[in-house]
């Protein structure tokens, strides 16, 4: 099997861009990515894998043709990959496979989503489309509500404090404040977040990620040719993915994302690494409790100790594993289909020493992306060359 390198990554600004199209956002991400490399011709791209939920339905079918058009690579094989909030990590996974197999020398993986230019009623409707419809949605359940079930149970089983769960939001806003591409560049206080309006008890509005417009891209190639384009290739050394029941109530436990545990085990095994080797991570904090579960599911701490992990500052820069230094889904933003590769973008920035919240000397990083309420998860471990 071929070794796979990331030669560059790019991301559009995340936020509300009612005046921009899918093509505009994706081209913005692409132009950043191509600005970091040399000797690169767009005609060298052999295949494109594009993540999107097509939130709002304004381009529900054949998104990939629109994206090929946006970066002028019409003609190559391209397809949209959909796995809810995990879409672009799965797009990335398939791009990696295409190079590992020797089929492609260069492929791109990315994602795009537009979520802001939609009426409030329609947004609420679209927000639930990736959950179980028959038994959850039609009981009056919401997406934040499902994560709230996990939070309630985690607090009950492990004595986790709500304050510690919400600390994830405070931390991620602090990192986003320094990220010029983040949706929210304001810091928040724990008191403010705890006392904000309730969305799904015990979660308040500050425990929840926003709706975001944005795009992301990674340019991947056969490691043998990576140095032609950059002096600092980053290698994909581990990857794993998993699935679970669509409906939360059917799972064995509400306090672990089994799909993410399977994904992380596979990724560590492939990379021949352990959780203690990870120096920086981006994890899927669609809701604050999801970040607590991610610490545990990735093995950064023991099951049930996620609250303690952030309480002690272990997920801050300077702690055991700095997490979401780009601001996370909570504050950088969560353009569903673009999120997974935007996490990989943050890790790539860390490993190539471009990050605004740089972790000194980081050589190995992990990106953890979850679809739905944990019905799919993909994890990638990246290593500086």
């Amino acid at each position: 099997m071929k070794k796979v390198a990331i030669i560059s990554c790019g991301q559009s600004k995340f936020g509300s861009f009612v005046d921009k199209t899918y093509e505009d956002l994706f081209a913005e991400a692409y132009l950043e990515a191509t600005s970091h490399i040399e000797n690169f011709e767009p005609s060298e791209i052999e295949e494109a894998f594009i993540g999107s939920l097509a939130f709002g339905g304004s381009q529900l079918g054949n998104m990939s043709a629109l994206i090929s058009d946006a970066i002028n690579v019409i003609g190559i094989p391209a397809a949209r990959v959909e796995n809810a909030c995990g879409s672009s990590s799965f797009a990335f996974r398939y791009a990696v496979y295409s190079i590992m197999s020797g089929q492609n020398k260069i492929a791109i993986a990315g994602g795009v989503e537009k979520m802001q230019d939609i009426s409030k009623k329609s947004r609420l409707w679209w927000f639930g489309v990736a959950g179980d419809i028959k038994w959850e949605r039609l009981s009056g359940m919401t997406f934040p509500g499902n994560y709230a079930l996990m939070a309630t149970r985690h607090m009950y089983e492990f004595g986790t404090k709500k304050e510690d769960i919400t600390r994830c939001a405070v931390k991620n806003h602090r990192y986003a404040a320094k990220n010029p591409k983040a949706q929210f560049r304001n810091e928040i206080t724990l008191e403010q977040a705890m006392n904000a309006p309730m969305v799904a008890w015990p979660l308040t509005v500050f425990d929840c990620c926003p709706l975001t417009d944005g795009a992301s891209i990674a340019i991947l190639c056969d490691a043998e040719i990576a140095k032609k384009y950059t002096d600092t290739p980053v290698y994909v050394v581990g990857m794993g993915a998993g699935t679970d029941y669509l409906a939360l109530y059917r799972r064995k436990s509400l306090t672990r994302i089994e799909a993410a545990i399977k994904a992380s085990r596979a990724a560590y095994q492939m990379a021949k690494l352990e959780p203690k080797d990870i120096q920086v991570a981006e994890v899927h904090d669609c809701f604050t409790i999801a970040e607590i579960l991610a610490y545990e599911d990735c093995g950064f701490c023991k099951k049930g100790e996620g609250g303690l992990f952030i309480h002690e500052g272990q997920s801050e820069v300077g702690g055991k594993v700095p997490v979401n230094t780009g601001g996370g889904l909570k504050a950088k933003g969560h353009p569903i289909g673009a999120t997974g590769v935007s996490q990989i973008y943050e890790i790539w920035k860390q490993l190539t020493e471009r990050h605004q919240n740089q972790v000194d000397g980081a050589e190995i990083g992990l990106a953890h992306n979850v679809g739905g309420t944990g019905s799919a998860a993909a994890i990638h471990i990246l290593k500086r060359g």
Binding site: W125, R137, L138, S139, M141, A151, W201, L248
Partner: protein
């Protein structure tokens, strides 16, 4: 305007009115809802229909804040205010879990472990069609 479709089969689902599950004759596993392939042993067409007990205890819960309900439940919430959704463990041997809306209570009074009983209610109205089904009522000393 997109909306959750209301296929006819929905009103015909027995699970809307009774907790009909599929007990596998091969391995004894209770599948809720019934499946063609057993979730435990993967054998196909081996499930006999049984009714699960309509009582259980709250395994976990959340309270959907005012204005945060799905659009189908906006009208209901304008009357009820915040309402609770729970994963309930039923009182069968396997402790089968289901996801339900709780009713007839102040949602802030419930706890993990509170006993609940199924009741028949209107779930929501869409395109002029009323959807009926089961909600669960907590056993509380002062429910409101």
């Amino acid at each position: 305007m997109a909306h959750v479709s209301v296929p006819s089969y929905w009103n015909a689902l027995p699970q809307k009115y009774r907790l009909v599950a599929g007990k596998c004759k091969e391995c004894g596993y209770v599948n809720f809802p019934p499946q063609i392939l057993c979730n435990n042993c993967s054998k196909s067409n081996t499930q006999e229909l049984i009714e699960l007990p309509e009582v259980g205890t709250i395994y976990s819960y959340t309270i959907i804040g005012r204005g945060a309900a799905p659009p189908e439940f906006k009208k209901m919430q304008s009357k009820s205010g915040a309402y609770a959704i729970a994963v309930v463990e039923l009182e069968n041997d396997q402790k089968t879990k289901i996801n339900v809306q709780l009713t007839d209570c102040d949602p802030f009074k419930i706890k993990i472990g509170t006993k609940v009983t199924a009741v028949f209610r209107i779930i929501y109205e869409q395109e002029g069609v009323r959807r009926y089904g089961l909600k669960f009522r907590p056993e509380l000393k002062n429910p409101k």
